[in-house]
């Protein structure tokens, strides 16, 4: 906003229904100039950019703002309110000079509903009649739409790059001479009287011309009610709307407004459309594909295959990238250890800063891969089918059908999975999904399970492969807990109003590689910039916890022993001892406590921290010395510390506890509040402690 006030180039809103190629068009017009951010207070993407096509330098500079897709301007939540606020210039942006309305040529009547609302509000606008390539000469005529509303219409195909130069030229022209559209709709006389009442209650700041006031009254009547979640609505206006609604008796105001508008559009349909039965070839082809993809048997077969590929990709295709990042971090740390003078500063740089940057970048392979798949699924239209297929199951859990892909991704890593909750429109759906994703068995838990299972359980008893079964059991356990948590949280903490989903199944389309790449890198960049800084800071804090106070370096003892001693005496070590009373009922001692503190950086760090605690050096999960050391560990009374029961209790703890600062950092970034990451940490830790308590004490009671 501040940048805008400085240059004050005119603002053009890009607005349109979902699935009309709005963002592709925006990307084509704005080039790579877009910087994504959020609307204040709501986690809805805000994408400003600068018109790059044509023009002759600064005198022609135009700012574009890509609004979230919407079918109408009417709103019931703060998220839906973004559109009307942007149109009126009541958000954080100035009043727009122009609105670029992107409409789907294959869905013209429904798309013109939004155009009609904007024209009623006297917003100067240009219509981009997009996806004109899909209607193949049968589409609506631009000239007829121009005649109907008196606004310029340019036929475009954002994907094929058709009509873009003409559109850019038209935008520049209209910014200088705003076109005024006109439309005259005769609402029922009773409604006109209601509108007059509401119009009279408009606050002075909102008033403009009589026509615009009437349009605002229409907006208020169709948006405001006793249960809406709108922000900053003038109390007088609200009171007037509620009074009118109460006085309406048996009349249905929404019906009067919406049906009258559609009757108007339908009356002109024959003029707008070359062929009345706009059943496009694209649709017919999509329906044929759907007969397979939504088939009870074949549809599920395809669905399972697609999900397996996605899962496999996150789980193993990302590995070379992850190994590369980890290798590079380790190499850099070795180089620093070898070439920098020893001391506090170089330790901080090596372990805190370089380690922290490594901790951030290591997520990129999975984030890029996941968003590659998500944009592929979204842009092709298959994501809507996934939601359709899974809705019945997800509904039982109180979740949205679209929650499936983020939940599945949670098996690989909660961080990209939480970022992926963006594909859901409603805040409540996103929150609920985010809160349960960290309960899925992510890949960082595997090294912990592998260590414990490998060290404490026999490979097989008789014909029963104990180790393998235990691993499977841990997965099943996490699925059951996740689903139960979703069901419980969705009925208690994150209740939210029930808004039944209306899912559009858009025709299948070939995804545009440029849009996909852009989405991948935007997501990665936002993660680096916003969550990354916090992960880096946490790494430094955690490093300090486990390194201070620093004992004087003794001589003549092996370095493992030095580090073991230093760790035990560090604040982290003391913290481990301080929480020992809380951990004892779970069967853990303070050394495990230190491991748990260390594992906050990432769960797999538990293994290497334990290696340090036991003085066997940093270890991999398959490492024999650590396993033997664990088996040899005794309690003060001589009994082995690590019994299979303690192992089980520890695994259950790791399955449920929120031992991951990166998850919390990314939740903070996605919810824009500290409350939700705090809640996530609290409820998961409480759950983990209680479950481990039940396992350990129950096991002891059973005599295990």
């Amino acid at each position: 906003m501040n940048e805008r006030q400085a240059d004050a180039s005119p603002l053009v809103l890009v607005i349109g229904n979902p699935n009309v190629g709005k963002t592709t068009l925006f990307n084509r017009l704005a080039g790579a100039s877009g910087r994504v951010g959020n609307y204040p207070g709501v986690t809805v993407e805000r994408r400003p950019g600068r018109l790059r096509l044509g023009g002759d330098g600064d005198s022609d500079a135009v700012e574009l703002l890509d609004l979230p897709g919407c079918y109408s301007l009417s709103a019931r939540s703060a998220e839906e309110q973004i559109a009307i606020n942007a149109v009126l210039g009541r958000g954080d942006d100035p009043e727009p000079a122009l609105a670029l309305v992107v409409v789907d040529a294959g869905q013209i009547i429904r798309n013109l509903y939004l155009v009609l609302q904007l024209v009623e509000l006297e917003v100067p606008l240009v219509v981009a009649l997009n996806m004109i390539d899909e209607v193949e000469g049968e589409g609506p005529s631009a000239a007829a739409i121009e005649r109907l509303f008196g606004v310029p219409v340019v036929a475009t195909s954002a994907r094929r790059g058709l009509g873009l130069e003409a559109l850019a030229a038209r935008i520049r022209e209209c910014v200088r001479r705003p076109p005024r559209g006109r439309v005259a709709i005769d609402y029922p006389p009773a409604l006109e009287r209601d509108l007059a009442t509401v119009q009279a209650a408009l606050p002075p700041g909102l008033r403009a011309s009589a026509a615009r006031d009437r349009a605002l009254a229409l907006w208020a009547l169709t948006s405001i009610d006793e249960h809406d979640e709108l922000r900053d609505v003038d109390p007088g206006l609200r009171a007037a709307c509620l009074a009118v609604r109460r006085g309406a008796g048996g009349r249905d105001l929404d019906d009067e407004v919406i049906a009258t508008r559609y009757a108007f559009l339908d009356r002109y349909a024959p003029e707008l459309l070359a062929r009345a039965d706009q059943h496009l070839r694209k649709r017919a082809a999509s329906e044929r594909i759907d007969r397979v993809l939504l088939h009870p048997v074949w549809g599920f077969a395809v669905f399972v295959t697609v999900m397996l590929v996605l899962f496999q990709a996150l789980f193993s295709w990302a590995n070379p990238g992850i190994t590369l990042v980890e290798g590079a971090t380790a190499w850099l740390q070795e180089q620093m250890a070898a070439h920098l003078p020893g001391g506090l500063l170089s330790d901080l740089l090596r372990e805190g800063v370089v380690g922290g940057v490594g901790n951030v970048i290591v997520f990129l392979p999975q984030i890029l891969l996941l968003f590659f798949f998500i944009s592929l699924l979204e842009d092709s239209g298959y994501m809507a089918r996934i939601a359709f297929l899974m809705d019945r199951i997800m509904k039982a859990l109180g979740l949205h059908g679209r929650a499936f892909v983020p939940m599945l991704s949670g098996f690989a890593c909660a961080v990209p999975a939480i970022l992926a909750t963006r594909t859901m429109e409603r805040r409540r759906d996103r929150l609920l999904t985010m809160m349960v994703i960290p309960l899925m068995t992510c890949s960082a838990r595997l090294p912990v399970y592998t260590l414990i299972i490998g060290a404490l359980f026999p490979p097989a008893v008789g014909w029963m492969p104990v180790q393998g079964l235990l691993m499977v059991a841990m997965y099943l356990f996490s699925i059951v807990v996740t689903l139960a948590a979703a069901a419980v949280l969705g009925r208690t903490v994150i209740r939210g109003e029930h808004v039944p989903p209306i899912l559009e199944l858009p025709p299948y389309r070939l995804p545009d590689p440029r849009s996909m790449l852009r989405m991948m890198f935007e997501r990665a960049w936002v993660f680096l910039r916003e969550a990354g800084t916090m992960i880096l800071a946490c790494t430094v804090v955690l490093w300090a916890l486990l390194s201070f106070p620093r004992p004087p370096p003794p001589s003549g003892v092996p370095s493992e022993v030095v580090r073991q001693h230093a760790l035990a005496e560090s604040y982290g070590g003391r913290l481990g001892r301080a929480i020992e009373p809380a951990l004892a009922p779970l069967g853990f001692d303070w050394k495990i406590g230190v491991g748990i503190v260390g594992a906050f950086a990432a769960r797999e760090v538990f293994v290497s921290t334990l290696g340090l605690v036991y003085g066997v050096g940093e270890q991999e999960d398959e490492a024999i010395p650590l396993r033997q050391r664990i088996q040899a560990e005794r309690r003060p009374d001589g009994r082995p510390l690590y019994t299979p029961l303690v192992g089980l209790s520890l695994m259950v703890f790791f399955a449920l506890a929120c031992q991951c600062m990166s998850t919390l950092a990314v939740t903070r970034r996605e919810t824009r509040s500290w409350r939700w990451p705090a809640f996530m940490f609290a409820y998961m830790t409480a759950l983990a402690w209680s479950a481990s308590f039940v396992v350990y004490q129950g096991g002891r009671w059973l005599g295990l």
């Binding site: 109408s72 019906d255 049906a259 706009q278 759907d290 029930h498 199944l505």
Partner: protein, 100 residues
């Protein structure tokens, strides 16, 4: 009858939409206004949700909500929509005539 009781492939005319305001307003804003022809395209594998074709657009709602939508069969559902008596409010051509 309600939309939830329709059979796949059946062509219907919307008569009235009930239910919660947010839902019915959104549905109407998508063009689902009384008098609009709608076809039940299919049902998801577990019997819910259902897929509709309306104004050339495929959309899906849950069965529970479909109970709130009163419809009547388009006259000559098998033969085409020419003889469908349409209210003035929706004097629009039926978009689903020549499909399949």
């Amino acid at each position: 009858m309600t939309l939830a009781h329709a059979r796949p492939g059946e062509r219907l005319i919307v008569e009235k939409i009930g239910g919660e305001r947010a839902f019915r307003r959104r549905l109407m804003e998508l063009g689902f206004v009384p008098g609009t022809p709608v076809e039940l395209v299919g049902v998801a594998p577990f019997g819910d949700p259902i897929e509709l074709l309306m104004r050339g657009c495929n959309l899906s709602i849950r069965r529970g909500e479909a109970l709130w939508i009163a419809v009547r069969r388009a006259a000559g559902s098998a033969g085409g929509c020419d003889e469908v008596p349409m209210p003035a409010a929706a004097a629009m051509p039926c978009r689903s005539c020549d499909r399949r």
